[in-house]
Amino acid sequence: MSAAFHIAHRELASFFRSSIGWVVIALFLLVSGVWVAFATLRPGEPASLRVFFGASQWLLLVVAPAISMRLLAEEWRSGTIEPLMASPAGDWAVAFGKYLGAVGFLIVMLLPTLAYVALLAAVSDPEYGPIITGYLGLVLVGMTYIAVGMWMSSLTSNQVIAFLTTLFFFLLLWLASSEGARLLGPPWSDALYTVSIGLRVSDFAKGVLDTGHIVFFLAVSLLFVGLTVASLEVRRWR
């Protein structure tokens, strides 16, 4: 387990050693900040960050694959996976450590947005419950995006392919669970609504803390971390 934490620590630090980490954070803060400034900090608007959480869910669709695309694809490309796989760390520690590092980066990226909460509190009297659940929802959805993105990254040595396959995976899922569900109707729509990320995130933004949603995001994340381990094993045996 300690090897996983060392890998996570190296991974997290590497985001800040290269320009990618700073660029991703800057772009996320710029777009979300503009969104909050124009849609929330206006006279007559409710004192909530629901707009920010809704927008961030979509921003994460692009930002999370940008975080996850290099996790293993870059290791394959540069060959640094070889000393890692020759170490006693094991494939679970490699996959879990990299995942933890990327999730750590996601949390660091979200931390400056607490300024929006402070700003809201300075000009109004917001309800903190939906803000806390909203952040929890964002972290959980980000974790899911990153887990899927890491699996895609384990399948290729090309970061662009890892980015695009993750992005299109979630765009297809969104299309299927919205337009697809409407077109197909019951009973298919029930199954498609179950995998709808948007519906679950909107509950969090409203302040609804549903353990079913939490279990869903954690289970999907764990599944894709497990698939990443399988992918590492397969590559080793090929």
Binding site: A3, R10, S14, E82, A86, A89, R236
Partner: protein, 306 residues
Amino acid sequence: MIEVEDVHKKYGSLHAVRGVRLSIRAGQIVGILGPNGAGKTTVVRMIAGTLPPSAGRVRIAGLDAIAETQRVRRKLGYLPESNPLYPEMRVADYVSHRARLYATPHTADAVARALKRCWLDDVATRRIGQLSKGYRQRVGLAAALVHEPEILILDEPTTGLDPSQIAETRELIRSLAGDRTMLIVSHILPEVEKTCDRIVIFSSGTVRADGSPAELMQQAPGRTIVECKGDPTQAITGIAGVDAVSTEKTSDAWIRAYVQTKPGAHVRESIGRALVQANLPLRELRDETVSLETLYLRLIQSEDDA
């Protein structure tokens, strides 16, 4: 220390390693030599536990390299062929990261020791990407040995270095040996000839020769040069130890004969006697010195011809 037991590796229809057997004692410095594509790297990857064999077994200090891979990996230090490193990391941070992956006790001391042994003290805080290739090679070596492995595997450790860096890296490798078992993979003969006390020559996925440089020289077929007035072929052919004779005319109309001999055969005396009996005036009769390089080239060429 290292037992490679009838190991095979197949990649689809490509049979890259075919029944390799090796037994390496503790403390030996072994050079794995062969042309590109001979299967050397595949074999060391199977020893390092990063690649499972298709058949056969690798045991390290009595442990199965696959079934007990975690314990085996702790005993190994591995520098892969292209020396992959994280260019954005600082030298000391990277060596420390590798030490932690191996759960090395007293990490700070171990890192300081590795940096000192690899002459990296002066660049410890520099980013790896800013270093010359020679320095990066030393970083790879420091990272491979920071956990004090019993076995050090170095795959093409001087590839891409300039001559002064090559000399420097060879000196460093020799200084790192100590009581450690070392495997040095190379396709360059002087690389292993100068560093190793045992050489294993690979070609087409099999071991073609194995022994100390002196033992390998014994295995090498020899060549004796004869210069006489008249064709000596008839007189020489049939002498025990002679494989083949070829001749050419010299500029002053004498005949120079090249006599191929079996490994370890000493035929000069018999040739001299045969030429005297044949009444052929003789002005030169000498054994040609066979270098390890000649043997190596003959071994890999004979495989190519087969």
